[in-house]
Symmetry: C2
Subunit: 462 residues, 2 copies
């Protein structure tokens, strides 16, 4: 029986095997990240040649430490790792992260098998090898060797690629998207995607789970974990194409498997397969910040007819509907738009629409029983008022959060330049999902619709 990952993510004691005074070494960066962390625990550097590193007392070897050790980080040359793993077993260490590379990812399966053999039937959990480690932003603990501080939030990210994992931290910060945990799974010798999905499903700090995977070893348990998960799961599965699969094999050594099989497995289990990392982040922002859509009927509000058409196209191409509004809603909209314009869906508020038109029409659509989700759009046709557009969205998102009957997702999009971009930051900082493309906006709405469907299925089960 494998132990769960609570002490793995929230250790009371951490040892760093391979801690170093040399600032170019990974063991140095790892120790420094732990020290930068705002997390209370005991830290034990291990290095046979030093008395202290970065001002902390250093131990010759693991077994010299009296304390129980919850987590050991290992960054020493690969051939030396088995010996340390044996010491971990002796010391009854609960969790290990093998940062070191030089295992199955370069064809050295034998060395990896040795470690599998050492931990077999032991009460120990192992992440890696060939991993960056993890950053637990919820608890401000950085157990990785790479620099980068994610904002605290409710999206858990799992990456089979260390570099892309770190890239994702920058992407997340850039989009003002908060992260609960981000973890590199490396070669998945023990802890794999399924284990992490199980953990994050129960993690109160996590609302959405995003995965970048190249290959899965145990497809059945992966599917079961997605199925059992109480939260939306977004998956970028790389190695889609023949050449991509070939490149995958040479990257992490895992076989990519049939791409159609993966797609079917992910979708049938209730996960969402994303086209690329950008789409994963677009959908994660929507799922983290907005309520799910109970159906696929979308209302569109715009200050430009052309933009409304492009949004309608993007919605319908993705299986969403843009239906007629109720007579009551038409009446309200008729009273707020200029005389020339007929009320319709998309609602055209005309180029110079200010705060009131945007606010009143959004309120009308939030109350319209024909509508499950709303997209609010602005194009800078020379007469647009970005500040009023932004202000109206911020106000309506606040009202949406206050009133149970307004629990429909609000997404925003714009076409324009710098004047908008500053305001876009205001919206992102407030957790309002906004996208610079009609297609991306519609795809984010699809994620909210699929989440609504998933919740319905879950409700039916109970």
């Amino acid at each position: 029986m494998k132990s769960d990952l609570t002490t793995f993510f929230k250790p009371k004691t951490i040892a760093v095997v391979g801690a170093s005074k040399n600032s170019t070494k990974i063991g140095h960066a790892t120790l420094k990240n732990l020290l930068i962390s705002n997390y209370v625990c005991k830290i034990y550097p291990i290095n046979p040649h030093e008395d202290s590193i970065l001002g902390i007392k250093c131990y010759k070897k693991l077994t010299d430490i009296k304390d129980t050790i919850d987590l050991v980080l290992i960054s020493i040359p690969a051939p030396l790792v088995p010996q340390i793993m044996r010491e971990c077993i002796t010391k009854k260490v609960k969790n290990v992260i093998i940062i070191s590379s030089g295992f199955s990812e370069i064809g050295n399966n034998e060395l990896e098998d040795q470690i599998k053999h050492i931990i077999k039937n032991q009460n120990i959990r192992v992440l890696g090898p060939n991993t960056m480690g993890y950053k637990n932003a919820s608890d401000s603990l950085d157990a990785s060797f790479v620099f980068g501080v994610p904002r605290k939030g409710n999206v858990a990210l799992i990456s089979q690629s260390g570099a892309l994992g770190i890239g994702m931290i920058y992407l997340a910060n850039n989009e003002f998207m908060g992260v609960s945990k981000i973890i590199g799974v490396g070669n998945k010798l023990d802890i794999d995607d399924a284990d992490l999905i199980d953990y994050f499903s129960a993690d109160p700090e996590t609302k959405v789970i995003g995965l970048y995977i190249e290959g899965i070893k145990d497809g059945r348990s992966f599917m079961n974990s997605i199925k059992a998960c109480k939260k939306p799961i977004l998956v970028v599965k790389a190695g889609r194409s023949t050449a991509g699969a070939r490149a995958t094999a040479s990257h992490t050594g895992s076989m990519a498997g049939s791409d159609q099989l993966y797609s079917a497995a992910i979708t049938q289990s209730g996960g969402i397969r994303c086209q690329d990392l950008v789409e994963l982040f677009d959908m994660a922002r929507a799922l983290a910040g907005q309520p799910p859509a109970e159906g696929n009927r979308i209302g569109i509000i715009t200050n430009g007819g052309g933009l409304g058409i492009l949004l309608t196209d993007a919605c319908e191409a993705n299986g969403l509907q843009v239906p007629k509004l109720t007579p009551k809603t038409y009446k309200i909209i008729d009273s707020i738009v200029p005389d020339l314009v007929k009320p319709n869906n998309p609602v055209d508020l005309v180029a110079d629409a200010g705060f009131y038109r945007y606010e009143a029409s959004t309120r009308a659509l939030l109350a319209d029983p024909n509508i499950d989700g709303i997209i609010i759009a602005s194009v800078h046709g020379g007469y647009a008022r970005p500040q009023e557009f932004t202000g109206a969205i911020l106000k309506m998102v606040r009202e949406q959060r206050l009133h149970e009957e307004f629990k429909k997702p609000l997404l925003a999009t714009w076409v324009g330049g710098k004047e908008f971009e500053d305001l876009v930051y205001d919206l992102k900082a407030a957790g309002v999902p906004i996208y610079p493309s009609t297609w991306r906006t519609a795809r984010a709405m699809v994620a909210l619709y699929l989440e609504g469907q998933r919740l319905k299925r879950e409700a039916q089960k109970t």
Copy 2:
């Protein structure tokens, strides 16, 4: 026989009917834009109630002017337009832009027909009604009523939506993409997309043509113009879906027609249909800044294995190949990458790749006969060096422009945050196409491949 559009885009004399002292009037904004323009011509404000506007002598009516008039801009209430059009005929005006709205776009077909009747068999060209006018950036002439100054460049933009047209100026400026002309076609009473494609095909300032269309009245002449055009044509056709088509009908009054028919017509004529405006700009930047790809064989250079796989997937999903490199190239790459890594396509330069690895591998791929186009990627895995990545691309783009044998397109992409974004501006400012998404990068490469195919077909004709 319709006259060509030379005096339309390069008039020596311009009259503004409806010029006004009132700064909230469109006739005021129009005159002001002409005065802001850095273009030498004579300007005649027309207003029966004023002696001078914005410091310029004002005329009571068109026929009071002695000079020949090349271009008249009309911004007066719609019912008064026919009378002015008759005066234009009397005065032998060559070109007219009817900015005024209130015609077929609101169902007033009769008024529009009146104007058609007035200009029938006359030697006059009319843009609009219901148009923003145009901005001729090549010659620094702003004959529109909306504020916004596009950078000078070689992409001509044609928009059926005024608001999206202006939005495109901001988009273009934001992407550092230069524009030759941008024009709103409005209701296309006379001058239509086909006329403009013909003009831009011969315009030495234009290299790429982008269109946003909602509907086409004369499909045959549209197709013929695309076929005859000597330049790549990018088309966003809105009203793709049923609901989108319904919204189109209520926006500009034009029927959208079968979407499949449009797609076939555009593609068979040699145009490229874009998914949305973002894709149009992505492709336009690539076509404006890079040579076409002679085939579909793409080489990928990356500092992260995962990013290489995602790029390979995106290329293959879009009909591009990621083939093996020549033994000679493998040998070169083997000598520049760390020992652990095997040379492959994607070329993995490893996380900490600096200037030399990027430069030398790009040079090797430029020289590789197995490769038609190159994508250079960086992921900020904590060890990336954005400045060196950027520097290597800038250097190789310069070499590519110097050496005939290096005439292959170079596109770039990245995953990361702010540290990259400043450098991305440096690349954009230098005209190097770079995209924050693997999918968008592959799609831009598709445009370069299709342009290569188009040029081959053209060469076969002659």
